[in-house]
Symmetry: C2
Subunit: 615 residues, 2 copies
Amino acid sequence: MSPTLVFEPDGRRVQAKKTDTVARAAQRVKISLNADCGGRGTCGKCRIIIKEQANASLVTDVEKTHLTTEELSIGYRLACQTIVHGDLVIYVPRSNSGQRRIQVGGFDRGTTINPAVAKHFVELKPPSLEDALPDFDRLVKSIGGRKRRLDSIRLSALRNLPRVLRESDWKITATAWDDEIVDVQKGDTTGSSLGLAVDIGTSKLAVLLIDLVNGSTMSVESLENPQIVHGEDVYTRMTYALEESKNVQELGRLVVGGINFIVNEFERKSGIKGRDIYEVVVVGNTTMHHLFLELPTRSLAFSPFVPAIKTGVNTKAQSLGLKVNPEANVYSFPVIAGFVGGDAVADLLTTGITEQEDLSMLIDIGTNTEIALGNRTDLLCCSCASGPAFEGYHIAHGVKAVSGAIERIRIDLSSLKAEYKTVNGVPPIGICGSGMIDVLAEMRRLGLITPDGRFSQEFKDQFQRRNGMLEYSIVPGQESATGRDIVITQKDVRELQLAKAAIYTGCQALLDEKETLATEVKTVYVAGAFGNYLNLGNAIAIGMLPPFNEERFRLVGNSAVTGARLGLVSKEMRDMAEMIAQNSRYLELGARKSFNKDFTAALNFPQTKLGNIDP
Amino acid sequence: MSPTLVFEPDGRRVQAKKTDTVARAAQRVKISLNADCGGRGTCGKCRIIIKEQANASLVTDVEKTHLTTEELSIGYRLACQTIVHGDLVIYVPRSNSGQRRIQVGGFDRGTTINPAVAKHFVELKPPSLEDALPDFDRLVKSIGGRKRRLDSIRLSALRNLPRVLRESDWKITATAWDDEIVDVQKGDTTGSSLGLAVDIGTSKLAVLLIDLVNGSTMSVESLENPQIVHGEDVYTRMTYALEESKNVQELGRLVVGGINFIVNEFERKSGIKGRDIYEVVVVGNTTMHHLFLELPTRSLAFSPFVPAIKTGVNTKAQSLGLKVNPEANVYSFPVIAGFVGGDAVADLLTTGITEQEDLSMLIDIGTNTEIALGNRTDLLCCSCASGPAFEGYHIAHGVKAVSGAIERIRIDLSSLKAEYKTVNGVPPIGICGSGMIDVLAEMRRLGLITPDGRFSQEFKDQFQRRNGMLEYSIVPGQESATGRDIVITQKDVRELQLAKAAIYTGCQALLDEKETLATEVKTVYVAGAFGNYLNLGNAIAIGMLPPFNEERFRLVGNSAVTGARLGLVSKEMRDMAEMIAQNSRYLELGARKSFNKDFTAALNFPQTKLGNIDP
């Protein structure tokens, strides 16, 4: 039997020959691996991650020149060098952010640049028999350190200090984190001080390279979360983590490996040096937070879903294996609860909800959707298990918002045929979340589906039946990149109903708890990469969101990584993040008496025709 | 040619056969290795350190059961298992403190017990859906932590916290260092909290095991400083350190290995666990301080002799490889200057000189003798290169104050024969420092040596000539343990003149700088193990010390390790140590114009007959 290759995250499958390289097999299913050298192994770009190394050829010398020992240990390979020996699950990292629409940045707020990292250039008077003050104390005196509370130095920096001072004619740059010197360098390097703002998403890592001198973003990279080899969603990974305590370590190190990969990219593309990165600020949902820090996740997995820590965690880069300056501080944002993590805190920080008098709502849509409602006197938040449907999982032709994903759909009133628009305008490969919301709203508007979600008998001529399941065709096979019809099935609609009902129920629960109406909410911030391509009218029309006034919506993109950036460049913002986490109240939806009833009611589509749907 | 074995620190030599074990060879020169098993390898007590492993048999399985990998890597062997293949220098560690008189403790002062390590036993209310506060924050709240500034936790402790809480029915003990939790344990372990006070001397390590609950000393161990394989004195080791930067590491790790050996002894004898040791406070001269922390010593070796740091250094045990709790803090005392180290700061702390109104002097006699003069408004200190003569080096029959060392000598007026007293009253093996001072004073008193240090022609019948050198016999061969005469030679007297002149010059320089007289000094504290067996009248008589009034002397023993203990049990004492180091002034003797003249003058013996010498 010929081996089966499954390419993740798309899930495309292909039967391969035992002499095929992975690159050749990928070509047959039109998976581009970005190679520049036509498979000769000189460009090193066709990186893949393989879980079952036993079913592939041994690592070649060519691969060893392109991949670090750490990358090799994680399972990185070059597709053009890897020969298929058996069944393989191949994970294709998309580090090329041009190819995948990953939203970073977007909505932002101003802040004074006041990072925890400070560089001081000083010229010291050399010691003499009359003035033999020791090196460190001479340095501190020169910086004016006692006043600045600069009173300690990391042992590694102290071990270098005597040499650096004497080899640089007593002109050095001392880098401090908080009140401690963490590095000393010859000459004046104050012009270059770098930091990373990291959002560890369940499905992707987004990393900003920040110039700590002026707070600007120098570069942006993102990468599928390498943990995906252990499952697409948080629950699968948590199950894996529960099996053995060493699995927690493995999951943590996969993420660290991913961040290191991105650092490598920054080094290659921006000409920076990893060791000039002196601080890393990390946000992520509570499970990602725990796995990153290698904290046990057992108590997150079972009621009452208690995290190990709420407060932000500071640790050293070297203790986690991050390939930045070994003494760089790694600050992990505080979390609010087991299902409301540091990413939500970062969203709140970015939007400034907790500083305003007016009532605002934040909705960060993802596999878990975090929702918060409040103002500066009180903030209530919850989390709902909206599932990965909007990210393409469990949907017949669902894909993420990659190139070729259908992101907009309109159904023509007379022909009842779908019109669509894809990411990058290339031939379609599947439907992403915003396309799904559009197709539901359009089908409902035209009566193709009933209020309870069934494909309407009235329009049965518009549907095909395949394998006993009704489906509505959006793209005929001859137009699609895959050669297959792209359709939405009755089962897809059911999946999407579960997802949208979960989000709606969460929003409404918060409104109820705060005894307020949707119309009283001044601003609704919608976060998450997904949020940028959302037809909001359609989201309300399908009953995914309560009927807020549309003009009060603010799409804030990946406000999580923006929050990480704020925490990186400003100590005051970091303090604010801690305050947000300490003062927020968490509402456990499952503990509400009316939850099941509310959720069941929300599964239906609203009966009302809304004015903001095209006539 | 048969191999030569040299046993250090005594320097005894023996020709061995190539089939001999080291233990058998040692027996022939009467070196006891403390074995209990008659060489069968079952007791593991005959530990030695060998530098040239190539000239010895390979490590046996028996040795592997008694010695740790680390000990083996340092060169530890069992003498009964090690067969001689060639010339060997064998270092015999004397960990049995009963066998060697190492002074620990002695003079002490009271202090309130307030260590930086604090244990908190708490019973937490288990979380529920209504109260899902994360574990760490729940713990901090229960300890009342915000008030106590307890606001962070080491990542390693956080990784254990969820499990420890749930496996112990939410009753745990949290151990904090300063404002950070460093360990969590099941149940109530507040009764046991341990610390180490360590004095790293050039020739020996002295370690106190301290109960941090009540401040008491539970056990005392000492060990020859394992760095001795790279030279007896500081200069030889510093030269070795300068050869290659990895030598600094090696020297540092030898000391760490020695401390680990002692921790092992505490575990074996006192039934404690190394991981219950939560803080280690270390004092030592500046070179020992630098080597322990693996700081470069180049700038200490050359004028202007500048240390890397004056301020005390905090680091984690695991970063140094100490086998105590990995998160234990290691506090290295501040130093004053290149030749006035943390041991002198500890002496000053113990004696309280800097807190008194009256003028006091401290003299810590060793290979380097540190001297300080001052009171609470000003303290001036210096260091003099007194050399290792008083410790037995470069003296024909010099030994340290080990069992059998002659520690008291009196010369009979009529017979001109020496009477002596040995440590432990056993047959004599050589003369230790206090014996040397006595014999000089007695010989001078009786005119056997002239004021300028020559053996007097007048008494030439009392001397023998051996290898062209005059010598005065103290013990005839038939009385000695070695079978050889124990004598003092003309060259020995010259060596001792250099040593005593250095100390005298230092004392007088401080008196001159402060424009004061010896009689105005209220109290003179004499520190160092040596100091406990010193006939003070004789020390003044030979012109080693200025003519202070004898009733103002206080012998304070090893006040360095006592100072380390004070810094360990009291945060206030630690702050005081930092203040002492910051506020002391250092006088560089070599920079004084009159230094050479003063030193030359001090070489002679005083002409005056002093009343406090026996008639």
